[in-house]
């Protein structure tokens, strides 16, 4: 390590943990609600501000899963509180820390002002919603077999044969079903995306890592993150309701969330 680097390190013992950027400079202070009960406050520049707490300039790391969960809960909780006060915010991901004190944050806001302000205006009055569309596997299988008679014929043939003798045909049936199921889900996802596009500003297909217990027996057809204007949430809900009412289908519709999936901030 060079001498300069040591000096630089010394300069940045202090840091600021950033939760989000907000439009406005109203007073905002929440005591003991940040990570590890930190006092959270607003540092503003012109008409925007950063919601933050003071911390050492090093990342929050823990091998304890519960500790990390608690931090994530605190992080999202502060973003929700800020959204209640300021409207749509630019949420930052967990562990975003600026080296330096409040003045360093003001410098950083100053440097990135145009980009941050533009993004805040773009996302104004919009929120992120998560939409997951599920279908009963039997319903999907019926639909596949109604469309492809060769698969239906194969199933009929298997049912008339002894189990061991039908093993290879059964495997063939499984592979054909898997391919057909993939194809039909891609088609359905496109159909639903264009249906929902009428009510949303932006839509993204996302991977899902956790499915709640009540949907475990169903097949996830597609999962979307949608950026929705507050005025359009009801009509979006109405359209999702009509899908939910179809026999064998179920919708999981959650939000509003801060627009994590739609915030575009480059290198500031």
């Amino acid at each position: 390590m060079t001498e300069t680097e040591v000096t630089q390190e010394g300069l940045h013992k202090e840091g600021r943990y950033i939760y989000c950027i907000v439009n406005g400079h109203e007073k905002f202070a929440v005591r003991n609600a940040g990570l590890d009960n930190a006092d959270v406050y607003l540092v503003s520049y012109e008409d925007i501000g950063a919601i933050l707490h003071a911390c050492p300039a090093k990342p929050y790391e823990s091998k304890e899963e519960n500790k990390v969960k608690e931090w994530l809960f605190n992080h999202n909780n502060i973003i929700d509180k800020a959204s209640d006060t300021f409207g749509t915010v630019l949420p930052f991901s967990f562990d975003s820390i600026i080296k330096g004190d409040d003045d360093a944050v003001v410098d950083w806001l100053n440097k990135g002002y145009e980009e941050l302000k533009k993004e805040l205006d773009r996302l104004k009055d919009k929120a992120e919603y998560s939409v997951q569309i599920f279908c009963e596997p039997e319903k999907l299988a019926d639909r596949i077999m109604a469309q492809d008679s060769t698969i239906a014929d194969l199933k009929e043939k298997i049912e008339k044969m002894p189990k061991r003798t039908a093993y290879l045909l059964h495997r063939k049936f499984e592979l054909k079903m898997k391919d057909a199921s993939h194809a039909i889900m891609v088609k359905l996802a496109e159909e639903y995306a264009s249906l929902l596009m009428k009510h949303v500003e932006e839509i993204k297909t996302v991977k899902v890592h956790h499915v709640p217990e009540q949907f475990k027996d169903k097949k996830l057809i597609v999962s979307f993150s949608c950026l929705v204007l507050k005025d359009n949430v009801k009509t979006l809900g109405g359209t999702l309701g009509t899908i939910n009412d179809l026999q064998g289908y179920a919708i999981r519709f959650t939000g509003p969330w801060a627009p994590f999936s739609f915030t575009k901030i480059g290198e500031i």
């Binding site: 189990k163 061991r164 003798t165 093993y167 290879l168 495997r171």
Partner: protein
């Protein structure tokens, strides 16, 4: 660095790895058998024999997994292999990975 080895874990891990590899071979055999059947070169009796042999192998593997409680280990190895195969054998995935970098 000292590596601590638990004998039970070692047995489960090793057996899980072997069974997962046999499953990969079995999968290749199944696909080969399907191709042979589709080519029409096999008679009905040969088809039935092939199917029954592979069914027996499948059943034997399931029994080994149940008796040794290694279903999760095998699944984990198979999922890992699928992931590797997906990266190396899927050109669309290469394009996605390239976009990320």
């Amino acid at each position: 660095m000292v590596i601590e080895i638990d004998e039970d874990n070692l047995k489960q891990g090793l057996l899980g790895l072997v069974v997962a590899l046999v499953e990969v071979i079995q999968e290749a055999l199944v696909r080969q058998a399907m191709r042979r059947i589709e080519s029409g070169k096999l008679g009905p009796e040969e088809e039935a024999r092939l199917s029954e042999s592979l069914a027996d192998l499948d059943e034997a593997l399931e029994n080994i997994k149940d008796e040794n409680d290694i279903k999760d280990v095998v699944k984990s190895v198979t999922d890992g292999l699928t992931e590797v195969a997906d990266v190396f054998l899927n050109p669309e995935r290469w394009a996605e990975e390239l976009k990320k970098t």
